[in-house]
């Protein structure tokens, strides 16, 4: 599969360099997480202390088990919502050039550029009125909505570039555009869906700016809120926080490895031009 046939040695060298650059700070994070608090961060060495107590403290003190469950439900719910809604919207916008769609697209595009802080207070008031504070559904809705513009943009771009040849074929067989979206288009969009899941899901998993206001009860806290517990009034408990951060990123990394499978070639077998 040497499409862009770079000869092997420079390529491997580049890959090694990239890996090193990516890994080094991460290794530093691991060192911090495994550090014995005595002596502080200034006494950090290249070899970890293997002070696993940090992880246990992080897990217990911040109730990470509960936080994991919350983060999982909210992120999964919001991602599902986004893929469902944005995919549909992207399809319509990509195929139907109506005035309605152009307006909707423009609004989504413009809203991507709006600094989130403007919404905070009115959104908070709105959620109080809808009794959405401390609930899963409200958090899912808010996070999903925040992810819509980008996802719609992504889907519509790819759908338009894909061309409607396959769907036309289905239409002749008696399918409507709507049905062919679910049966034909969406499965072909696996890489795009994977991107949306990975990128937006990540943002949702790490969301702090909304969660801090809308999830107040201890039992509803998500991972970022759990980690923030270790920022004290003055200073922070770095080793434990690093441990918490590492625990918190296991699901996203696992999800990423899982969804990587969608980045495989060959989706257009027997498709497109004849």
């Amino acid at each position: 599969m040497n499409r862009l046939a770079l000869s092997k040695i420079p390529r491997y060298a580049a890959v090694m360099a990239v890996t090193l650059a990516a890994v080094t700070p991460f290794y530093a994070l691991i060192l911090i997480a495994l550090k014995n608090p005595e002596g502080g961060l200034g006494a950090i060495r290249m070899v970890p202390d293997f002070y696993l107590l940090n992880f246990i403290t992080a897990w217990e003190k911040s109730r990470m088990g509960r936080a994991f469950a919350n983060s999982l439900v909210i992120t999964a719910g919001a991602v599902f919502l986004v893929v469902f809604l944005a995919g549909m919207a992207g399809y319509s916008i990509g195929r139907v050039r109506s005035r309605l769609n152009r307006v909707i697209f423009m609004i989504f595009l413009l809203c991507m550029m709006i600094p989130g802080i403007i919404n905070t207070v009115p959104l908070y008031t709105l959620l109080i009125r809808l009794k959405g504070i401390n609930t899963y559904w409200a958090m899912i809705a808010v996070l999903g909505v925040n992810a819509l513009p980008f996802s719609v943009f992504l889907y519509s771009g790819f759908i338009r570039a894909m061309g409607g040849a396959l769907e036309e074929a289905a239409l002749i067989d008696g399918c409507s555009y709507f049905d062919s979206y679910w049966r034909i288009t969406l499965p072909l969009l696996k890489p795009v869906t994977a991107s949306v899941v990975i990128l937006q899901g990540l943002g949702m998993w790490n969301n702090y700016a909304q969660a801090v206001f809308f999830l107040q009860k201890g039992s509803m806290r998500t991972i970022p809120l759990a980690i923030s517990l270790f920022f004290k009034q003055y200073g922070a408990d770095w080793p434990v926080m690093a441990a918490a951060a590492i625990l918190g990123l296991i699901p996203p990394v696992a999800a990423f490895l899982l969804f990587q499978k969608f980045f495989i070639q060959g989706i257009t077998t027997g498709a497109v031009k004849g």
């Binding site: 390529r11 802080i117 890489p191």
Partner: protein, 289 residues
């Protein structure tokens, strides 16, 4: 199929839009009203018309932040795209372990920028950072690189690129995967050179990816927030403060009305380059078809 779904595709964007209107547009509208007031966060808002917007242009700190933000974006956005694309190209071909490397490159984006920024500070801190000391040992004198506007910005840009290049890469990967194999086979048959393949086959197919990445990176770079807070806290003084940081500090510092106005100004600062870029890209895209 007793329901006639023949026309449904025309309205498929509506569910998304309706939900969006309720949870985004409606609060946004209420929020925008604040920019015309001198609200401090609790007492009754007092309407002052456009005074907040006018104040911005004589606010030295805000103008300085705008300059810093623009400089940062000028460095960060193109670099992010370049690195993301290079990484995607590098890691697209089949070699063993490419999944692992992709995960490693993507990993920084998974960790909160506040925490990662603090780790970077541990590495880059003048006189104490691990990288810094290592550089001194090999006789490179970085000096007090956190304290000079220029060098501090460069460091922040580099850390930002490190953190987010993985996300850009993912979108380019998706784009690369969408290119049908036949295109390359045809080119191979013709005996086209590597550069020609890239320019005439890969690039056009990457168009949607390029579009979304350029725009996302412009928006993200102009909104930069946590990375700067973690690395320099906007300092020394306010030298590396970005507009988003300023807005946040004003919002919680009793200048809520003014901060909303500055946020709107930031919106326009973001919108102009994005729309220009979009138009430019669309025109380029058309020339390929």
């Amino acid at each position: 199929m007793h329901i006639n779904t023949a026309n449904w595709h025309k309205y498929m964007a509506l569910p998304a839009f309706l939900l969006f209107s309720l949870f985004f547009l409606f609060p946004l509208f209420r929020g925008l009203q604040l920019s015309f007031t001198a609200w401090d966060g609790f007492s009754t808002p007092e309407f002052i018309g456009l005074r907040n917007f006018i104040q911005f242009f004589s606010d030295k700190r805000a103008l300085g932040d705008m300059k810093t933000t623009l400089l940062f974006a000028l460095g960060s956005a193109p670099l992010l795209n370049l690195c993301g694309l290079s990484l995607a190209l590098l890691l697209n071909s089949g070699f063993r372990g490419r999944h692992l490397v992709r995960s490693l490159v993507y990993l920084p984006a998974v960790i909160s920028p506040m925490i990662m920024g603090s780790v970077w500070y541990l590495l880059l801190q003048p006189q104490r950072g691990i990288f810094y000391l290592w550089l001194e040992r090999v006789s490179v004198e970085p000096g007090n690189w956190m304290l000079h506007h220029g060098s501090a910005l460069i460091l922040i840009i580099l850390v930002n690129v490190w953190q987010y290049a993985g996300m850009t890469m993912i979108i380019y990967l998706a784009g690369l995967q969408a290119i049908p194999e036949e295109q390359y086979e045809a080119a191979a048959l013709e005996g086209s050179g590597r550069w020609k393949v890239f320019r005439y086959i890969t690039l056009p197919w990457l168009f949607p990816s390029i579009r979304i990445n350029v725009i996302t990176n412009i928006i993200g770079s102009l909104s930069v927030f946590e990375i700067i807070l973690a690395l320099t806290d906007g300092g020394p003084g306010y030298a590396t403060e970005s507009l988003s940081i300023y807005i946040m500090r004003m919002c919680y510092g009793n200048k809520t009305g003014y901060s909303t106005a500055v946020a709107i100004i930031l919106f326009f600062i973001i919108m102009v380059p994005v729309l220009i870029t979009l138009r430019g890209l669309n025109r380029m895209g058309e020339s390929y078809e």
